[in-house]
Symmetry: D2
Subunit: 157 residues, 4 copies
Amino acid sequence: MSVNTFSIHPDDRSRLIKATIEAKEFAYARYSNFRVGAALLTTTGDIIKGANIENASYGGTICAERTAFVKAVSEGNRSFTALAVVSDVASAISPCGMCRQVIREFCAQSMPILLIPADYDKRVAEGDVTGGVKETSIAELLPDSFGPEHLDLPRGD
Amino acid sequence: MSVNTFSIHPDDRSRLIKATIEAKEFAYARYSNFRVGAALLTTTGDIIKGANIENASYGGTICAERTAFVKAVSEGNRSFTALAVVSDVASAISPCGMCRQVIREFCAQSMPILLIPADYDKRVAEGDVTGGVKETSIAELLPDSFGPEHLDLPRGD
Amino acid sequence: MSVNTFSIHPDDRSRLIKATIEAKEFAYARYSNFRVGAALLTTTGDIIKGANIENASYGGTICAERTAFVKAVSEGNRSFTALAVVSDVASAISPCGMCRQVIREFCAQSMPILLIPADYDKRVAEGDVTGGVKETSIAELLPDSFGPEHLDLPRGD
Amino acid sequence: MSVNTFSIHPDDRSRLIKATIEAKEFAYARYSNFRVGAALLTTTGDIIKGANIENASYGGTICAERTAFVKAVSEGNRSFTALAVVSDVASAISPCGMCRQVIREFCAQSMPILLIPADYDKRVAEGDVTGGVKETSIAELLPDSFGPEHLDLPRGD
Ligand SMILES: [Zn+2]
Ligand SMILES: [Zn+2]
Ligand SMILES: [Zn+2]
Ligand SMILES: [Zn+2]
């Protein structure tokens, strides 16, 4: 029997989704006009918010998810229970590959990743209990991934 | 019946794998000591090689796969039939998330991506016809991906 | 007469340097073994700390300075008075080009950037009043820079 | 007496500028609509062209200058005599910080970097012998830079 080690308390889930939507407010999406918010739930119950911070060079842009991770890790948090992401578009948006690679560095394969539609609150108000949230994991989003352990493998001749 | 639009001619497949292994020779892996080679096969039969080019800032590093893509696109090639990747470790190594996102920008979901073990030639010489190559696709490596079309979606209130 | 609009109160300067050195403790420098700490002083007197957060892909690495910026901006702070940076090496280390580009996005050309030697505290204890701190600015570190305004320029034929 | 080791033959200079302008044609500037071309002159007289290749994630974008460098290095060229850059805007545009850091990895401090205005050909046709080209170097564009040698410095206690 497999035990889900990542069951999130409904209150934490609500707090996390609320924080994710709030986080979007501080996006600096000057070039894409595509605001994204993210939030991490730590194993100690803390929530760390992130937003996308763009750059005139485009390549210097840092997504909401990675913002949340570097905030958390730089404050000493490396142990996470869930991640949530939201944008301004109605459908639930999934992290880009760069963010998936950073999630891979710090999270368990099965940690819940919640993809929140922009109209989550409206959906809930209208009686949709799930609010349109899609739940996934890094196992699903970045299969057969490259990770820290590969750098330790012996090099051939 | 589904038709595989990406059947690669065995000769092209051999050429591609050979080029990928050669490409690794020009890796600039000064910091990781982890050399990677990549090669793209275009629809016109050309092969474009890439290697990882690292940077003292670490964040400025560009992987072998992305090197191959920017080489190809900057020469006017945006139509690809297959990608192959090899490193110096015995097991077949998979692209990082950043590279998967760049593959996503330019390739069809089902385009073959060949992951080549470092000892491919030895395996083939020893009678392993597949050479240990693992075949995958961006559909498999970056499921539920974020892509160009999402930036065109209408933003909510 | 030129007025320095960025005179930092000595107390704030001390707080900023102390925070920068503390920030380094949470670096995730698994691959380079080169820890860096950074801290931003906001116009409201708040201090936001950053550390370098590396990634197995190398290219996914985010430096201490950029960590501090995305933390600040994602919390609603976009108005800064000073930035400070420290590493584990004796000499004062300067930001990489990627970080300079992010500083360029959010800071005035003349905003003080303090480069702190790792042995700052020891130097001060030994009577060096400056502690070996080197003061610079983005005007000096990224001359003739590319910035947001260039993206608004009319394109030629 | 200081000897300029980087005097470029006028023919090479012309070839380089022409290649830079041509390179721009293959830019993939889908998101910024800001096309950039770059070209590197190697010590053996070869010219390697680059263009900016953008990505839906924004952060996955690779500039024209970096495209030229990874192309060159992945083909075995690490010895450069000059770099040139052009965009579609009338004024000469300077490399972003990320590109400056990559230039820093592979080029001498005084290697000429030519910033070409978009209307270079028109200027020359109208009798402006310089064509509005601005000449600079990485010493000027990235002063007090972080580089490979810093990663080798001894770490303090
Ligand atoms: Zn992302
Ligand atoms: Zn990669
Ligand atoms: Zn940096
Ligand atoms: Zn650039």
